[in-house]
Assembly symmetry: C2
Homo-oligomer: 578 residues x 2
C-alpha cells in the first residue's frame, strides 16, 4: 500500500483495490512473527497484516494469568519487554509493517491472487492483491450450543476481552462458586486462576480423569488427587446438559448428567478448533484433523499461500502422522519458518512431540511424545515405568517429588514421558523432549551429563532415575506392578500380600489400609523373612520406589518366587488409601 | 567375610587374612553405588567396602549448604530420604554389604589379588583377597603449603568435619570477615555460604575473572559484576602469599601479592586432585590428567581392578580426550556402570561434557560442552553468540534475565554453552547438554518442541532464541559485535557511534556514559535516520538484543554500510558503564 502512515481507525482513504507483496491474515502470533522475520530479511517488500479484532500481537497464552492476578493489567499482555504497546502504530514505526485491525478477510480469489476484505466498522468492502499470502487465522474456542449457554457470566478464555470480563466479574465480589467445563489444559489453567481468587470451583469432565488427552489414567488419577487436596471439586465422567439463570439473565446453575451445580460463573475449557473457513472456501486442502494441511515449508496446497499457527496441523515427529497441537510456541516457530520461506530461503518445520505443560495450583503436569496408549497404537512393543523421585536432594529445603510415567520401546528408545508433581517438572520435560527428538537411546539418556549441584538436582537426576528403572525393566532386573493392577487385585479380592518396607514412623503417618498389608521396615527384612508367605504373590511398597525395589530383590535372592515392587510407591498411588 | 554381624568399632575379632568377592576402596559416592548395584544384580557375592574415615556415603556436594544454613544438621547429609543413617549397620542390614570404616588401604598386591589394610584405631594390619577390586578413592583438596596455612580457621570444604568446623566458627559470632581462596565452583559455593551468614567476604583469584575454567571472559566479567552487586569483594589477578595469625594461633590476615586482607576465617577453594597414591603404588596406569586411566567399562590397566568417581579421568564427548571433571553425578553414574560390569554385564560410560552448575547468591552460573577457546583448540571453525533473554515472559512476575554464550561450529552444530543469570539457568543447560550429547544441529534445537506455558518459558524459549541468533550469524543475517571488542574500541578512542535504541525512559535509568553514544528509540529511528553519520561505524544497543538487531537491520536497509549490534545488550555488558 502506498500510504505508509499509521491507520488510526477510520482516517484511511478507502479505495476498492490495493496491492501488497505479502499479505498476512491474522495478527496474533504466527502472523506477526512471519511478518517481522520477513521484514528483517527483505526490507523492500510491502507487508500487510489484517485482523478482524481490535487487538493484535497480544500474549494469548497469558490470558489465564490475567484472570489469576499474576498479570496485573490487560495492557501488560499487549506490550513489549520495554513497555511499548504492540498496536498498528508500533508495527508501522518499528517494523515498517502495515497492520489493519477490524478488517475481516472474507474470501480468497487464488487466480488473480486477491483477498476480499471488509472494514468491520464502516462495512465497506475492498480487495487486496498479494504476491504471497500467509494464513494465520488461529483457532476458535469450542463453545457448544447448550440450552442457556448465552446467559451472562458464561465465558471462554480465548481473547483478551474474555479474560478482562472474567476478571471484572470476580472483582465485583459476586462470584462465590464457579464451574469449569472440561479438564484439559485450558480448563486446568482456568481452575488455577479461579481458585487463586478464592472461588470455590468445580470442574466437569466427560472422561474419568483430568487432562485425559495428556496423561495416562494412573497419572490422571494422581492429578485428580492433587486437585482435590487443593480444594477443587471434580465431577468426572459427567457432562453439562444445560445452564439455568438467576432470573436476571445471569448463570446460576449448571445441570450435568448427574448433578445440579450452583455457579455464579462458568468457564468453557473445551479447547479450540482450527479457524479454517476462509481456507475451505478458497479450496485449500485440509488434513485429517480438520486443520489446514501444510508441508514442512508450511505451504498449503497452493504454493503461494503459507499457513502456520493454530489453523494448521503439524507432523508428529514420532508417528509421522498429522496432529492438531495448537500452541503459542509452535506458532512462533512457524512464523520464523514462514518468514524465511516467503523471502526466498529454504526453511523447514520438522514437527512436534505434542509437548504440553500446565501449572494448576501447586501442581505441574506435562507430557511429551507418546502416551502408553499412543505408543501401542503406533505399533511399538512398549515398556513403561512409573517412577517417583525428588527434584532436589532430600536434605535441601524446598525439595518436592515428581511422578513420571516413562514410555519406551523394548529396543531401548525413549518414546514419551508424562510428569505430575509439585516439584520442578519443566526441566525434565524439556530434556526428555530434546532426547526424544534426537532419537536418543535410554542408555544415552542415562549417562547424560546433566547439570548437578544440590540446589538444582539429585546426583542421579530424577529423569535419569526414571530411565534407569526402564532399563532395569527391559533387562528384567526389576519386576514391577503398577497401581491400577493392584487396585483391580484388591477389588477382585485376589490373594496377595503388600509388603510395606518403609519405617514404622512413615507407616504410622500414611498407610494403605487393606487387610493384606504388612509393614516390615527394609532394615529388618533380612531377619524377618520367615514372617512372609512363600506361596503368595508379594508386592513390596515404599514411599518413592527405590526401597521397595531393594526389598523385592532381597526377597527374590532368598527364594521368594513371586515378588514385584509397586512402581512409584505411595507418592504415585492415585487412589484412595483404603 | 564370614562374620556378617555389624562391625561396631573394635568388637571385631581380627585375623590377618580375609577374603571377599568384591572389595571397594572408598565409601562416599562411586564406591557405595557400585556395591549397591552389584548387590542387586548378584545376591551371592560377598561385598566389602573399606574407608579410612569414620563417615561413609555422605552427600559431599551438600557440604556448602550445611555451611550456608540451607541444610540444618550435619546428620541430614548422612541419612536416606526416610531418615535412616547410612552407617555400616545400615549397609549390613539393608544392603548386605560389609562396610569397614577407619580402615585404610595401604597397598595392592595384584598378583595374589590382595589389598593390605590397616585398622587406623588399633594400628593392626591385615590383608584381604579380592576377586574384583573397585577403586573409589576420591579426591583431596588442593591445600598449598603456604606460610601460616596451619593457623586455625583456615579450612577447605571437602569432608563433613570441614563444614561442621566452619559452621561452628560462624556460630561463635567471631567471624566478621572471610577470605575465599580461588573463585572456581568450590570457592563460589563457599562465597555463597559465607555471605548468606552475613560475613563480609573477599575472594582471591589468580586469573582475571571468577570461574575462569568454566566461563569465557565476557561471562566471567558479568559474574564479577553480579558478585560485586551482591556485596562480594573480588581480588582478581592476585594470589595469596602467606597468612598471619592473631597471636593466639588463629588466622587474622591474608597477605596477597597486592594487598593485606583482614580475615577471621579462610576457605581454600582451589579445587581437588585425584587421590591416586595406592593406584600408583600398584603400578596402575594414570592418564595425562594425573588421574587413573580407565576404559569405557571403567576398568583400569588391570582388568580386575575397576575405578570410578573423583579418582579417574573421563572421556570428553566432544574432543575424545581425557579430562579430569570430578562430580557427584558422574561418580554415581560410574558406580552403576561398575556394578554392572563386575557382575558380568557389559555396561559403558561414554564420557562427559564438562557440565557444571553453581548457585552463588542470587546468580547461577553453568556451562556444558566447549568454551570458545576450547572449541578453537579442538580445531573447530567457531561461531559464537552472546544472547540475553528472559526465562519467562516479561509480563509474568518473577521473570529474570539470563545471559548465554553459545558456541557452535560453522557447520551448524552446537558445541557448548555458558549461562550466567538470576533466572532459571539449569533447564536451558540440561537441554543444551542433551542436544550436544546427541549431536543435534542448530536447526534441530531451534525447532525443539520444548514445554511452553507462561510460568515456565517464553514462547520462543531463551535457548531457542540463543540458537536462532547463532543461525542468523552463520547465515549472515545478523552482524554483531561483542562487548570486549567495544571495550577495546573505546579504550583505543576509535571513531564510531553507539546508537542506543531503547526508550528514553530506559535510557535515563541506565546508560553507557561515553561521548559517542546517542539515544534514538527504535520507534523514532525511521524518521531520524538523518541524525546518524553515514561514514562511521555504528553499533546499535538495547537492553537484551532484539531491538538493536531490528535497529541494525533497519539501518542496513537504508544504506548504512557499517552497522552491527551489540550482542546481549545492556544486560550482558560486563564492564563499568563509563
Amino acid at each position: 500500500m502506498e500510504n505508509h502512515s499509521t491507520r488510526q481507525g477510520d482516517n484511511i482513504n478507502f479505495k476498492n483495490f490495493y496491492t501488497t507483496d505479502i499479505l498476512v491474515i491474522g495478527g496474533v502470533a504466527a502472523g506477526p512473527k512471519a511478518a517481522a522475520r520477513a521484514r528483517r530479511l527483505a526490507p523492500e517488500r510491502e507487508i500487510t497484516i489484517v485482523d478482524k479484532c481490535d487487538e493484535v500481537s497480544y500474549a494469548g497464552c497469558g490470558l489465564p494469568f490475567l484472570v489469576s492476578g499474576d498479570v496485573s493489567r490487560r495492557l501488560d499482555l499487549m506490550t513489549t519487554y520495554s513497555g511499548e504497546i504492540r498496536d498498528p502504530a508500533y508495527f508501522e514505526k518499528v517494523k515498517g509493517i502495515r497492520v489493519l485491525t477490524r478488517v475481516e478477510a472474507r474470501s480468497i480469489n487464488r487466480k488473480p491472487k486477491e483477498v476480499q476484505l471488509v472494514d468491520i466498522q464502516s462495512g465497506r468492502s475492498f480487495s487486496m492483491r498479494y504476491r504471497q499470502l500467509v494464513l494465520a487465522t488461529g483457532s476458535r474456542p469450542v463453545f457448544p450450543d447448550l440450552e442457556g449457554v448465552k446467559l451472562e457470566n458464561i465465558y471462554c478464555l480465548h481473547r483478551p476481552g474474555d479474560a478482562a470480563a472474567i476478571r471484572e466479574a470476580i472483582a465485583s465480589g459476586e462470584i462465590k462458586r464457579a464451574v469449569v467445563v472440561g479438564a484439559g489444559p485450558v480448563g486446568l489453567e482456568a481452575v488455577d486462576a479461579l481458585v487463586r481468587n478464592g472461588i470455590k470451583t468445580t470442574v466437569v469432565e466427560i472422561l474419568p480423569a483430568p487432562a485425559p488427552k495428556l496423561l495416562d489414567p494412573e497419572l490422571g488419577g494422581l492429578l485428580r488427587k492433587h486437585l482435590e487436596e487443593q480444594g477443587v471439586a471434580l465431577e468426572m465422567e459427567d457432562r453439562v446438559m444445560r445452564f439455568e439463570g438467576n432470573g436476571q439473565g445471569r448463570v446460576h446453575r449448571v445441570i450435568t448428567g448427574k448433578k445440579t451445580l450452583e455457579a455464579d460463573l462458568v468457564v468453557m475449557g473445551l479447547g479450540v478448533r482450527p479457524e479454517v473457513d476462509i481456507a475451505v472456501r478458497a479450496g485449500l486442502a485440509l488434513g485429517p484433523t480438520g486443520a489446514i494441511r501444510v508441508n514442512d515449508r508450511l505451504q498449503t496446497s497452493d504454493p503461494d499461500i503459507y499457513a502456520g499457527g493454530d489453523c494448521v496441523e503439524v507432523n508428529h515427529l514420532l508417528t509421522g502422522k498429522p496432529v492438531y497441537a495448537p500452541l503459542g510456541s509452535t506458532a512462533n516457530k512457524h512464523g520464523r519458518v514462514i518468514g524465511d520461506n516467503i523471502t526466498g530461503r529454504d526453511s523447514r518445520f520438522p514437527g512436534v512431540l505434542g509437548t504440553y505443560i500446565v501449572r494448576t495450583l501447586e501442581t505441574t503436569i506435562a507430557r511429551t511424545g507418546l502416551t502408553e496408549q499412543e505408543a501401542m497404537e503406533a505399533g511399538h512393543s512398549v515398556v513403561t515405568a512409573l517412577v517417583a523421585a525428588l527434584d532436589r536432594p532430600h536434605y535441601m529445603p524446598g525439595n518436592r517429588p515428581l511422578v513420571m510415567k516413562l514410555v519406551a520401546s523394548r529396543e531401548g528408545r525413549l518414546l514419551g514421558i508424562q510428569i505430575v508433581g509439585r516439584g520442578e517438572v519443566a526441566k525434565r520435560m524439556d530434556v526428555a523432549a530434546a532426547a526424544i527428538s534426537t532419537g536418543a537411546t535410554l542408555e544415552r539418556v542415562s549417562n547424560m551429563d546433566l547439570a548437578y549441584a544440590p540446589p538444582f538436582a539429585t546426583d542421579m537426576d530424577a529423569l535419569i532415575q526414571g530411565v534407569n528403572v526402564l532399563r532395569n525393566k527391559i533387562d528384567e532386573t526389576a519386576s514391577t506392578v503398577a497401581a491400577p493392577e493392584i487396585r483391580s487385585w484388591l477389588d477382585e479380592g485376589k490373594d496377595f500380600t503388600i509388603l510395606d518396607v518403609r519405617t514404622e514412623q512413615e507407616y504410622d503417618t500414611l498407610w494403605l489400609d487393606f487387610d493384606n498389608v504388612v509393614n516390615i521396615p527394609l532394615d529388618q527384612l533380612r531377619n524377618r523373612l520367615n514372617e512372609l508367605p512363600r506361596d503368595r504373590e508379594i508386592v513390596t511398597l515404599c514411599a518413592l520406589g527405590p526401597r521397595s525395589y531393594e526389598g523385592a530383590r532381597l526377597l527374590q535372592h532368598h527364594g521368594f518366587g513371586r515378588v514385584k515392587f509397586l512402581e512409584g510407591g505411595m507418592v504415585a498411588w492415585p487412589y484412595e488409601l483404603w
